[in-house]
């Protein structure tokens, strides 16, 4: 009984309510959020309970049916595949991105900013343009195919474009910087004396890595995983262009409802479900991550 006031006091010390100036400073971002996140999501939410008419216009006639349709095996299977592709993309980004981020983070300052620039430069070029570049790189009569044939690694022309493998390549390429940057931020702050201490106390390099470096860069890993996993589930441009629109992910299904199928309410229901799933996953991960500290 006597213990209850203690955490309360601790809480009110940690979370301060912003004053008037604080609110003023926050207002541009809040306005932005309300206008471009809260408001559209509310529209989407309302639409998801509506129906479409013959022309594809939204009719305000309440129904649950859009949510019922989501549980059709056709869409569940695609959702499962989207999760698998996103997980694979995240895993590959982590394996490729972690050493890069660590290396950049531990480099001397001048080289560090140069390397960071190299990670950012692709963002200066349109995403579509870069995707088309990949298409001409991977195509059967492209340079990679020619190189592999010349070195006799493969017998016929390279047949990778318009396959799931091409989709994964495209996804990893697109989202790699989103893994590197947050891990870099963590790695940069890493106190080198901690690693030295671990090694001095007799830890093997592997043990120092798994028990010191990884836990200390965990916030970066967590942020990176989230930044790669979430958007790659919803991606539709890469599957359309590099996958030949053959392997659909849930993003393609949603896009189709707002396009060809002209069924906005169903698209909205898919979008809302998607959003709810993310929110729940995020909370779950965040809570566990919080407990670990």
């Amino acid at each position: 009984m006597a213990a209850t006031p203690v955490p309360l006091a601790k809480d009110s010390g940690g979370r301060r309510v912003p004053g008037l100036i604080g609110w003023l400073l926050l207002s541009p971002m809040l306005l932005w959020l309300v206008l471009f996140v809260v408001f559209p999501t509310a529209i989407l939410f309302v639409y998801s309970f509506c129906q479409r008419d013959e022309l594809g216009q939204v009719v305000f006639d309440f129904t649950w049916s859009n949510y019922g349709r989501i549980f059709d095996p056709v869409y569940l299977r695609i959702f499962g595949r989207s999760l698998w592709y996103a997980a694979l993309t995240t895993g590959l980004c982590l394996v490729i991105g972690y050493p890069v981020a660590y290396f950049i983070g531990r480099s001397p300052p001048r080289r560090r900013s140069l390397l960071l620039l190299a990670v950012m430069v692709p963002f200066w070029i349109s995403f579509l343009l870069r995707t088309y570049a990949w298409i001409s790189l991977l195509k059967a009569e492209g340079p990679l195919s020619a190189l592999l044939q010349w070195s006799q690694l493969i017998a016929g022309p390279l047949e990778i474009l318009y396959t799931p493998a091409a989709v994964i390549i495209g996804l990893v390429y697109t989202y790699l910087p989103f893994m590197i940057l947050p891990i870099f931020t963590s790695a940069e702050k890493l106190d080198h004396s901690m690693i030295e201490a671990a090694l001095d106390l007799g830890a093997s390099p592997v043990r120092a890595f798994t028990q010191v470096i990884i836990p200390l860069t965990k916030p970066g890993i967590f942020a990176g995983v989230l930044l790669v996993f979430v958007p790659s589930i919803g991606m539709f441009a890469v599957t359309d262009l590099m996958g030949g629109a053959k392997v659909s992910m849930i993003g393609n299904v949603i896009q189709n409802q707002f396009g060809q199928a002209r069924d906005w309410p169903f698209g909205a229901a898919l979008g809302i479900t998607f959003l709810a799933l993310f929110a729940v996953t995020f909370w779950f991960l965040h809570d566990r991550n919080g407990e670990a500290h």
């Binding site: 022309l55 594809g56 059967a140 629109a245 053959k246 707002f258 060809q260």
Partner: protein
């Protein structure tokens, strides 16, 4: 005398300024397909009439519908395909065109008029037409291809590009089953399913925007694509043959229509009449080699242009699409399901 002259001068100036203002205000808003109306045509129209054409573009009928029905912008002219014209007429979204202002309508071939989408020819004027057919790289594919069954015989598996249009794909199966392509019922979907389940895994890629690219790249050897794309391929290299499937093909007609409440209806009609002039229409054909419904304009085309089999194919059984309304949903689900299975 002096004063009167001055008054006259001032009046004249004022009149001139007023006229100039009126002239500067004249404009129409055209909402059309991307890569469909040559800039030269729009420039010539402005030079002749002083009416400026604001050309805004879209990439699919569906995109156009959302913007048009959303009411965000006021368009004077739109270029929907036949089944969308039908839906718009049904919903009362189009103005009847005053054909007294469009005398050049006489140039349009009778086979493009009074189609099911506009049986009385009150609301639409054919702009360009075309088909969906088979393109074959004759250097790579040696066996004869006459219909869809040959395309999907299995011999060309993995070497095929098709449009990414779900309804279009479904009709190919319906035609080989001798079914009405405009009757989309759950029963028709069930009948088409096993056929498409065999066909879709053979397709290397789906691309509606530029299917010719994969054929030119050598990534695929056979395509089921728009005739306009096929005509460009044939122009590039004569090895690309265009074949209309023997079981029949989709004849699409894109029309110019005036949406209900268009702010500049009369000027829009002037534009339609201008487009139908043979010497203007031929400019469009030169830039975009679709089938020109304007018979007078065809007379101005070179024998080579008329000889392009993709622009002017040998006649076969051609059908246009009707509006299918909500059935678009089950079509979408079928194709999504079959693509997911591969």
């Amino acid at each position: 005398m002096k004063i009167r002259l001055r008054t006259l001068l001032t009046l004249g100036l004022a009149l001139g300024a007023a006229l100039h203002l009126v002239a500067a205000k004249k404009e129409i808003n055209l909402f059309g397909w991307s890569e469909y109306v040559p800039q030269a045509v729009l420039d010539q129209f402005e030079k002749e009439t002083g009416i400026k054409v604001n050309y805004e573009t879209y990439a699919s009928n569906e995109e156009m519908l959302s913007k048009l029905l959303g009411g965000a912008a006021e368009f004077d002219l739109v270029q929907p395909s036949e089944y969308v014209v039908e839906a718009l007429v049904k919903a009362g979204k189009l103005e009847a065109i005053d054909f007294a202002r469009v005398p050049n309508m006489k140039n349009v071939g009778a086979e493009f008029l009074r189609q099911p989408h506009d049986p009385e020819q009150k609301y639409s004027v054919p702009y360009m037409a075309g088909t969906v057919g088979i393109v074959v790289n004759t250097e790579k594919v040696k066996q004869p291809i006459v219909g869809m069954k040959d395309v999907f015989s299995g011999q060309c598996a993995g070497r095929i590009v098709t449009l990414a249009d779900n309804r279009e794909i479904l009709t190919w199966a319906l035609r080989t089953l001798d079914r009405d392509i405009n009757v989309i019922t759950p029963e028709a979907i069930a009948a088409a399913r096993p056929v498409l389940a065999k066909w879709l895994p053979q397709i290397r890629l789906f691309d509606s925007d530029s299917p010719k690219t994969a054929l030119l790249n050598g990534e695929v050897d056979i395509g089921v694509i728009w005739s306009g794309e096929a005509a460009l391929l044939y122009r590039e290299d004569k090895k690309f043959a265009y074949i209309l499937p023997k079981e029949g093909a989709h004849l699409w007609i894109d029309s110019l229509v005036i949406p209900k409440g268009a702010p500049h209806k009369a000027d829009a009609e002037t534009f339609i009449n201008f487009i139908l002039r043979p010497e203007v229409s031929v400019l469009i054909s030169e830039a975009f080699p679709y089938t020109n419904p304007n018979l007078e304009a065809r007379k101005l085309l070179s024998p080579e242009q008329l000889g392009n089999p993709a622009s002017y194919p040998a006649p076969t059984k051609l059908e246009s699409f009707h509006d299918i309304g909500k059935a678009a949903g089950i079509v979408d689900k079928l194709i999504t399901d079959l693509k997911g299975g591969s």
